[in-house]
């Protein structure tokens, strides 16, 4: 028996050592667009002073070219990059921000501000949906810090419970054992011998990324007739409903700072923890965090409560239709959550206007942070 236990321990040790070594060679699995953006940023990290992080609302809503032009027009020239990714929320955002700004990689010297779409509390610490289990991005964001935070969040009051915590722990284990890194390694090997035709997905062209700054509008084909994009189709069918939601929001609920009704105490606590870690990660990189609420008809009052309690440093919110009617006009909406390309250009200008109006992050403070 003792011998068996010793041999099992030896096998586990060999597993851990080998996994650690492999994780050094290929640190994360292939992740499609996110990979392309990470790779691009690695070689262009000194070019940007503003980074945007968030979900599809940021990816398809912030046009760096327009934002930069408006900032320059207002005497704040710079260059921004959109790190938005479809479906990115909560913990994944924090993990990505930490990774991009990691000290070991050398802090981007020009970086002044990091604009992060403020995550919502809903779903934080919940069980991972079966369809999303062990997807590359899911494993990627479960680094030790994030896996621990997610598991801890899951054990909060009224959240996922032990099952969800175990799920996060398993994903953390997959991350720790470099699961899925082999494909990245094979890709790296192939890149040494030239381009990689036929790789999975549609790789983003670096030149195109440099031009677009990471912004990706919905394809024109998605707009066309109602027979195209299912979400667009649904939106077009429910425009009166959308208008009612906008009218209900205008100048009322979203900005009122009332406490959350749907989120559990556990979720709110997890959100507070997440926001404070995001803030710390950005400040460690010598930049200033700006939290962004995109124009959406889904109010997140818990975020306002958080801000009112002093939980976030800077908040720019565009979720009040009374203040930003053009962002909620049907012709500028792709659907209830997203903007059309025209809408995104307007939003980017307004965002620049708001940020240019706020004080520039203090140079001495940033330099002191960098040191």
């Amino acid at each position: 028996m003792r011998r068996s236990v010793t041999l099992a321990a030896l096998a586990c040790a060999a597993f851990a050592v080998t996994a650690f070594g492999l994780g050094r060679i290929a640190p994360h699995p292939e992740m499609g667009d996110l990979d392309d953006k990470l790779r691009f940023f690695e070689t262009h990290r000194e070019a940007y002073d503003t980074l945007f992080f968030g979900s599809s609302r940021v990816l398809r809503g912030v046009v760096p070219e327009v934002f930069d032009a408006e900032m320059a027009r207002r005497g704040r020239p710079g260059r921004s990059f959109n790190f938005g990714i479809d479906g990115m929320e909560g913990h994944e955002t924090v993990a990505l921000v930490r990774r991009v700004l990691a000290k070991g990689r050398g802090r981007p010297s020009l970086l002044r501000r990091v604009v992060v779409e403020l995550p919502t509390a809903g779903g934080l610490g919940a069980e991972i949906q079966p369809e999303n289990r062990f997807k590359a991005r899911m494993v990627f964001w479960h680094d030790p810090e994030e896996a621990r935070a997610a598991a801890r969040g899951a054990l909060g009051k009224g959240v996922g419970g032990w099952g969800a915590a175990a799920d996060h722990a398993l994903h953390g284990l997959a991350h720790a054992t470099a699961a899925g890194g082999g494909r990245t390694l094979l890709r790296q090997v192939r890149e040494r011998f030239g381009t990689v035709p036929g790789s999975l997905g549609r790789p983003l062209d670096p030149a195109e990324l440099a031009r677009s700054g990471g912004f990706e509008p919905f394809s024109q084909a998605s707009y066309g007739t109602p027979s195209t994009h299912p979400v667009r189709r649904r939106f077009l069918r429910r425009i009166p409903e959308y208008r009612r939601a906008v009218a209900a929001l205008a100048g009322t609920g979203a900005a009122a700072g009332r406490p959350a009704a749907n989120e559990s105490q556990g979720e709110i606590a997890a959100l507070e923890h997440l926001v404070s870690r995001l803030t710390a990660a950005v400040r460690r990189a010598g930049a200033e965090p700006v939290f962004l609420v995109t124009p959406t008809v889904r109010p997140a009052p818990e975020l306002r409560a958080l801000v009112a309690a002093g939980g976030t440093p800077t908040l720019v919110a565009f979720d009040d239709p009374a203040s930003y009617p053009e962002l909620f006009a049907v012709q500028n909406r792709f659907d209830a959550d997203h903007l059309t390309t025209d809408g995104a250009r307007r939003f980017s200008r307004l965002l620049a206007e708001r940020l240019a109006g706020s004080p520039e992050p203090d140079e001495d403070h940033l330099l002191a942070e960098r040191r």
Binding site: L7, L22, R137, A179, G182
Partner: protein, 470 residues
């Protein structure tokens, strides 16, 4: 839950520990039965009722066929009626859940072809996982008991475990009652378990299924989904990759099943014997999904008359067996054509054998190459999503003239060739032999490292999260 998922590893570790802690054989079997049903419920608990129904009916029929059993039928006619009842229920369940949609669709298509619009809607019926496998197992039991080749089992637990034993429940191998039930009579001894062999086999199967098959799948999928847009080389590459994929997928899963059963102290039959090294199509069927091919031989081909009748009858029996064998793999005409292509090759091979031609030098190599080529060609029909697609691919595969401009990475063809060489080199089972020869500490270290490398090469899905799919 797949064998390659971490949840299964945790589940199996718990079952393994509990199975060896429990001392009484009956309790152990109850534990394994409960674990098997729990495992199946992980897919869809509602279909447990089907397994229970199939198990209950065949157990009762088995008891009815038992001359010493209570309420047993004493007459040949009664025995025959019980056999027919078993065939009816089992094949009926299979027909409803697996083939009903196919039959309706085919009938509607046929009526449409003769100008009649049936207007029938093709029903969408969920296919219960593993139904083809456990149905064949229960059928073989009843038929063997009816033939007097097997004594009916008395213990309902033993019979239920034979039908539902989780390692082989969802993807085989198809186990014969005569092989499995005797193993349940006494509790296995831990000292008799070949741990090293089974652990190695599990890892080999894991690598085949998760690291090779699952990594190759997207490339073949892309070409099979729209073959008309690809070059001939891309199509040939995709067919070669698919051949590797399906073999590694199926045999890898079987390896893991055999290993899991072995670690619990039970023996499952070998299902694959390096099929792409076959010298002829007949040899291929002695190497590919052996538990199915022998089942079809013993319960379909031989009862039809086998090769005992006229020359023509033998060919007829061969064709019926292969056509139904094709249909067993999936409810679509493409599978029937796949079976027909193999039947044609087997008929030709049989005729060739009758001519007693002198063996020419290099005939063996030529035979292997022709067999491999034919098997590759038939995989097109096995995997194709439509006859139109299969036609495009077959033409491009044979002629080398591609219909479209899209290419696949040429390195993938090299990869397919490399994997075929590994298949060839593995025929002597070198990995298992190395594992057996190592000192304990070296085996433990090598196993841990190899497992880490396998995890490193796991394919993780790259598509967007589902919550973005609106």
């Amino acid at each position: 839950v797949l064998f390659t998922e971490p949840v299964f590893l945790l589940f199996f570790a718990a079952v393994f520990a509990a199975a060896w802690v429990v001392r009484a054989n009956r309790r152990r079997k109850l534990l394994l039965l409960a674990a098997s049903y729990l495992f199946y419920a992980g897919w869809d608990w509602r279909f447990l009722s089907l397994i229970a129904l199939s198990t209950g009916i065949d157990y009762a029929i088995g008891r009815g066929l038992d001359p010493e059993g209570p309420g047993a039928s004493r007459t040949p006619a009664g025995h025959r009626a019980l056999l027919v009842a078993s065939l009816g229920v089992n094949l009926g369940i299979l027909a409803v859940f697996k083939y009903y949609g196919f039959f309706v669709e085919s009938a509607v298509g046929l009526l449409h072809a003769v100008g009649l619009d049936a207007g029938a809607r093709v029903p969408e019926i969920v296919l219960p996982v593993g139904i083809s496998f456990y149905t064949f197992q229960t059928l073989s039991y009843t038929i063997d008991v009816y033939r007097g080749k097997l004594a009916p089992v008395r213990s309902p637990i033993d019979f239920a475990l034979f039908v539902g034993f989780f390692p082989q429940l969802v993807a085989g191998p198809i186990v014969r009652a005569a092989d499995f039930l005797p193993q349940l009579e006494a509790r296995p001894r831990l000292a008799d378990v070949a741990f090293r062999r089974h652990l190695t086999l599990f890892l080999v199967g894991f690598v085949k299924k998760a690291c090779i098959a699952d990594n190759l799948a997207p490339f073949a999928d892309r070409v099979f989904a729209a073959p008309e847009t690809f070059t001939a080389l891309a199509i040939q590459t995709a067919v070669a990759l698919y051949a590797v994929q399906i073999y590694c997928d199926f045999s890898g899963y079987t390896d893991m099943a055999i290993a899991c059963a072995g670690l619990l102290g039970y023996r499952l039959p070998v299902n694959f014997r390096f099929p792409y090294l076959a010298a002829s199509v007949a040899d291929f069927w002695h190497r590919w999904h052996v538990s199915l091919s022998t089942w079809l031989r013993d319960y379909l081909y031989v009862p039809l008359g086998g090769s005992r009748g006229s020359h023509l009858a033998t060919h007829r029996n061969l064709w019926i067996t292969l056509l139904l064998g094709g249909l067993w793999h999936g409810a679509a005409w493409t599978f029937v054509v796949w079976g027909a292509l193999h039947a044609a090759a087997l008929s030709l091979h049989r005729e060739w054998g009758r001519w007693r031609l002198p063996r020419l030098p290099g005939a063996a190599v030529l035979g292997s190459a022709l067999t491999l080529g034919w098997v590759l060609l038939t995989w097109i029909f096995f995997r194709a999503e439509s006859f139109a697609g299969a036609g495009v691919m077959t033409k491009a595969f044979l002629s080398g003239a591609g219909p479209g401009p899209r290419a696949l990475d040429p390195a993938l063809l090299l990869l397919a060739a490399l994997l075929w060489v590994i298949h060839w080199a593995s025929a002597g089972r070198p990995v298992e032999r190395w594992a057996e020869a190592m000192p304990d500490w070296a085996f433990a270290g090598a196993y841990g490292s190899a497992a880490a490398v396998a995890v490193f090469f796991l394919p993780l899905r790259t598509e967007a999260f589902v919550y973005f799919q609106f």
